[in-house]
Structures are given as structure tokens and as C-alpha cells.
Amino acid sequence: MDLHGTVGEALKQQGISRRAFLKFCTALASMMALPPQAAAAMAQALAKARRPSVIWLPFQECTGCTESLTRSNSPTVENMIFNMISLDYHETLFAAAGDAAEAAREKAMKDNFGKYLLLVDGSVATGLDGAYSCIGGVSNVQMLEEAAKGAAAIVAIGTCAAFGGLPKASPNPTGAAPVAALVRDKPVINVSGCPPIPVVITGVLVHYLTFGSLPELDELGRPKAFYGETIHDRCYRRPFYDQGKFAKTFDDHGARNGWCLYELGCKGPVTYNACATLKWNGGTSFPIESGHGCLGCSEPDFWDKGGFYKALPTGNWGGGKTLAAAAAAGVAIGAAAAALARKRQADIAKEK
């Protein structure tokens, strides 16, 4: 099997019919909010595209992003991408291990230098010279630097790779850093989310395969097609927000009737992701539909924004102690000012 022929040939060899492929492109075009006519164009372009070599490097991650993409019983729209790319290295999915796997990676990088797609999930540990996270004795920092040299583009999958994620949360003991902070000379697409919606990962890869370029990105490097709107803007509970119907606690009258979860800490208004439209598990539901406020997991530093159950308007300020100290200081200075004024008054009275 020619691993690097066209995508169309690869699919044919794997027994995926033209109709199945067209169905895949139709579904994906629908999810990417492209006009349905684009599906046929996408299918044509993809069939002729060269099957790219893809190297997936997992760093300081929980494997949730890989799980998000691969967890299914049968070929789905999301994981058909694996039939279309040549996954030349994936630490977790590879049957081979140890030296054999490392050798496979090095060979793939050498053979496709300058052309392979580098997918990264997990943050890069930079503390202690990178010693906090090593694979086969090679630190993440080193591995990323090496792999980035020959990559055509880098896709940072998941909030950890895109923004640092959980490891970067205060106090960040391992010196976790996002991919974009370490790789400056190659294009980086951030597909954030904890984990990202699987079809978003697929959509980005398909876009790259079809058009040979990166999709339009927002100021945080996320594809605008999926991260252009906030959860709040597309939330089906929006009418309740507008009417002022909020659930006060979990499982109260408001919660049972599906009212807005703003008071329970929903970060929907400031979170950009496609959860409210594409939903999860093949369109089953998303956190708010299941009764829990949005965590804001596709935004940078969402772990350190105060608390998942503190409503958005509440401040993330220090607390009562400093204010008590400020109050005491104010009283003291006020008393001192009054004392000075009194002394001056007494002096004036004495002069008279």
C-alpha cells in the first residue's frame, strides 16, 4: 500500500466507497457551516490531495484529546480522518514501543522533511531544563524543537497544547508552556478545548488537506469556523437568560425546568467554542444541556479564573483581609488628619 499516494487512492484501498466518502464530506461541510455545494468540491479536492504524513506528539497530557478523536465503535465522520492521513507516529496508539517506535518517528521525519503535519497534545514542560516530562530520555522541549524543524504546520490539539491548560494552572510546578510560546517560526493552529470537540479536530485537518493552507484564525490562533462565536450566543437556554429566569442551585425548580445557569457559574458569555451547535458525543448533548454551567475550557487559564461555580460578574479579588487592613489604615489616617486639624484649631484659639 502506497502510504503517500493520494487520499482517494488510500480510501479506495481501505474499502471506503465513493458514496461513503461523499457522505463524509457532506456531513463535515454541514458541521463546518460551509454551503452544501462545497461538499462535492471538497470530495474532489480531497481525492486528489496527497496523503500527508502526520506525526502526533503527546506531551504533558491526559490523553483525553486522543480519546476524544478515537473513541468510537465504527468509522465515524470524526475518525475517518485516520483513513485519510498517514499517521506515521502516535505514542499512545502505536502497537510498537520503545526503540522501534522512536525509529519509526525519526524515519518519518527524515523522509518527509518540510512536509509533514505535526500534531501536538499536552503542554510542554520547561521546568528543570525540561526534565519534568521526558519520553525515552528525550525532554518534550527537545522533541518539539526537533520535530518542528521539518513540519509544514503544527496543530496544537487541546487547551494544554494551545494555552498550557491544567499543568499551567497556578502554581505551574513543571513550568508548563503552550506550543505557540516555544515554536515561533512555523504556523501553529490552536484547536483548544478540554478536550476539543472531535469533529473540530477533523475539520481543521480536512481544511488543510483540501486547501493546502490553514483556516482563518482568530487572535488566539483558533479556527474562526469553530471558535467564532461564544457558547452564550448559541445557547438554547438564551431565552431564559433574556427573561431573567435563572437556576439558583443545582436541582432546584429553575434547574429542573432548564433555566439559565448564569448564577451557577456558567462562563458561556466569555467562552468561544462550538459546543452549543455541534454538541458532544455525536450531537447528544453539551454541559449546559446536561445541567452544568460552561467551564470555559477552550479559553486560556480557565482553571485560574476564580472558580467554576462563581458567577461571571463576581470579582476574582483578594478577599476581606486586605480590605480590613485598608479600612484600618483609613481610620488611622483619618484620625491622624483630625488630630492635626484639632491641633491647628487649638493653636488658632490659643493665639486669640
Binding site: R19, K23, T26, A29, S30, S72, S74, V77, G283
Partner: protein, 143 residues
């Protein structure tokens, strides 16, 4: 997951689910325009039903207005799909589902014959090769 259905949920004020948003009517006008375009220039068109906010009541209304035609095709590729002709020739309702039965895409196609049902020349060439191989050489069962 059957487990979810066992959890008791009491809805005190059930939401009104029979509400129509009024988005279905303009769709019918768009279909008519696409039919005109098909007659004039032979250009097929399609409308992605997921691109518009449609309530379940809207969908029912749309199905009712478009009606049933003479053709209904089942497609099995990466899961079941259905192509139903509506009462208006040239207007087809296409539903794509994945292997788990979940909805992937839903379109209204305006075309003499939906592209997904057609067999392409390449596939036919491949088919004749395979058939001749089976007929000509009894041992050659290569697909």
C-alpha cells in the same frame, strides 16, 4: 444509554414544543427558486437544513408541505442514509446518519437525480474489470 431513561425527571412547566419559528416558509420559496435555476441552467442546488434554526415543528411542517414522492432509497455507507423524493419532482429530502444511527447531515437537494446515488464512470470501469476477472479466470477472486 438505557440507564439515563431510568432516572426520574419531573418537569414542572413543560416547554412549548409545538412552536413554529416561521423559518420553514421562506425555505419553500428558496426551493422554488432553485427549481427555476435547475430548469434554466441545469444547475443542481441544495439546502442544508442544519444551517437554519428549525424547531421540530418547523421540520414537521416542511415535511407535510413537501409531501411524499414515488422514490425512496436506502443507502448503506458508513451508516444508513435515506433519500426520499418529495411530492415535487426534482426535490429530494436526504438524511445522513452515522453507524450509530445519529444524524450527521440533513439536506434538501434540488436535482434530477441526487449525486450520491449515481454510480461514477471510474467505479463502473472498476466494476467491469472485477466482473471480467471473475468470469474469465475462475481462480482470480481478487477484489
Amino acid at each position: 444509554m438505557s440507564g439515563l431513561r431510568d432516572i426520574g425527571v419531573k418537569v414542572v412547566e413543560p416547554p412549548a414544543s409545538d412552536a413554529r419559528s416561521g423559518n420553514a416558509e421562506p425555505l419553500l420559496h428558496e426551493i422554488a427558486t432553485l427549481l427555476d435555476a435547475l430548469l434554466a441552467g441545469g444547475r443542481a442546488g441544495s439546502i442544508d437544513l442544519r444551517s437554519l434554526p428549525l424547531t421540530p415543528a418547523d421540520r414537521d411542517y416542511l415535511r407535510e408541505r413537501l409531501g411524499e414522492g414515488e422514490v425512496r432509497a436506502e443507502l448503506h455507507a458508513l451508516g444508513p442514509s435515506e433519500v426520499r423524493e418529495t411530492a415535487y419532482r426534482g426535490v429530494w429530502w436526504v438524511t445522513h446518519r452515522n453507524a450509530a444511527g445519529e444524524l450527521c447531515a440533513e439536506l434538501i437537494e434540488v436535482t434530477p437525480w441526487p449525486a450520491i446515488l449515481q454510480a461514477e464512470r471510474e467505479e463502473i470501469e472498476d466494476a467491469v474489470q472485477r466482473l471480467r476477472a471473475q468470469l474469465g479466470d475462475g481462480a482470480a477472486w481478487k477484489a
